[in-house]
Symmetry: C2
Subunit: 197 residues, 2 copies
């Protein structure tokens, strides 16, 4: 695992941190493990991340940002109308969470622990996601298909009402039979609520 | 605490069990503790509940049933139209959960542990609650105010979409500022979804 040549960047440290977390779990992983995996001194790691907490927050943010990026593409998809984008946005979010939880349950559990410690990082992530949803809802209101008074409040309600399909606390439910039907039923009801009058 | 006279009923055993759970917590409470609190032999307790698991399930069901009963009164309230009943039903559920969690957080945590062990009891409880909701939604469809295709599917979606306001996993959120506004926004959007067309 010892690195040979390239410059020690924040991204390389975060990659190594994820690998160390995967191997040791969140309770045991240390900055020294990360430095060792990179073949550098722990001082070199601390030059990029001043504390262990800062490093853990940064790797958590990186993990969450991957989903944010995929969802931003749905928001920006001008080919689809706002209703289709709301549905697609939640479908992509649910699929991303299920994939992460299903393919690598241990890493998923590790990040769930880290996210529980990193309140501000998670708060920022949720704010980014509801901001994306607000943008879609606002486009629907402006185009006349949605009729809610306040796109921001509606977006937060949408996000909270779908928690069962993205909150890691429900990960066990995501492999139950019928979960897709449940997801569809919740999203249908919410989209009807956006349209309504 | 030793009982003097009255007949040993299932209800008396369950009362004592709750008291023992409150004092010892779910990990340490035993059938012997319950028998001691009642001043009877543990054999007498086992005549009513054949195993420790059966006793724990029964006390969990009793705890959940208290909420079911209050909600049944909302369902039966012929003075209110279906939309008002849906809103009231969730308001009563949320208030009951917050009260339980707020007044006696340790007992609430204890029952959350017990509920996690008693999958069938909880499943039955959720089925009862969504059954109640189905009844209200069906009344709304029959009266022409709601337009959903399948009241049962809509009721399940309503229940799942409001998890943040009744799932004990979110108990910490219930004391955050703004939670009432969040509750209102989610219920509003869902009720709009029931009406819509």
């Amino acid at each position: 695992m010892a690195a040979t040549s390239p410059t020690l960047t924040a991204e390389r440290i975060l990659e190594a941190t994820e690998e160390v977390l995967r191997r040791h779990g969140p309770a045991k992983a240390t900055v020294v493990d990360v430095a060792r995996a990179l073949g550098v001194s722990h001082g070199s790691v601390y030059r990029h991340f001043r504390t262990k907490t800062a490093l853990r927050e940064a790797v958590t943010k990186r993990w969450l940002d991957r989903t944010t990026q995929v969802l931003a593409d749905v928001v920006a998809d001008g080919e689809r109308n706002p209703e289709a984008r709301v549905r697609e946005w939640f479908a992509v979010l649910f699929a991303a969470k299920r994939r992460k939880a299903g393919l690598d349950p241990e890493l998923f559990a590790t990040y769930t622990v880290l996210a529980g410690e990193a309140g501000e990082v998670v708060g920022g992530h949720v704010a980014e996601l509801t901001g994306q949803l607000t943008e879609i809802v606002r486009a629907g209101v402006e185009g006349g298909t949605f009729t809610v008074d306040d796109p921001e409040i509606a977006a937060r309600a949408l996000f909270q009402a779908t928690a069962r399909f993205h909150d890691p606390g429900y990960a066990k439910e995501w492999e139950q039979p019928g979960v897709e039907g449940e997801f569809e039923a919740v999203v249908d009801l919410l989209v009807r609520g956006l349209r309504a009058h």
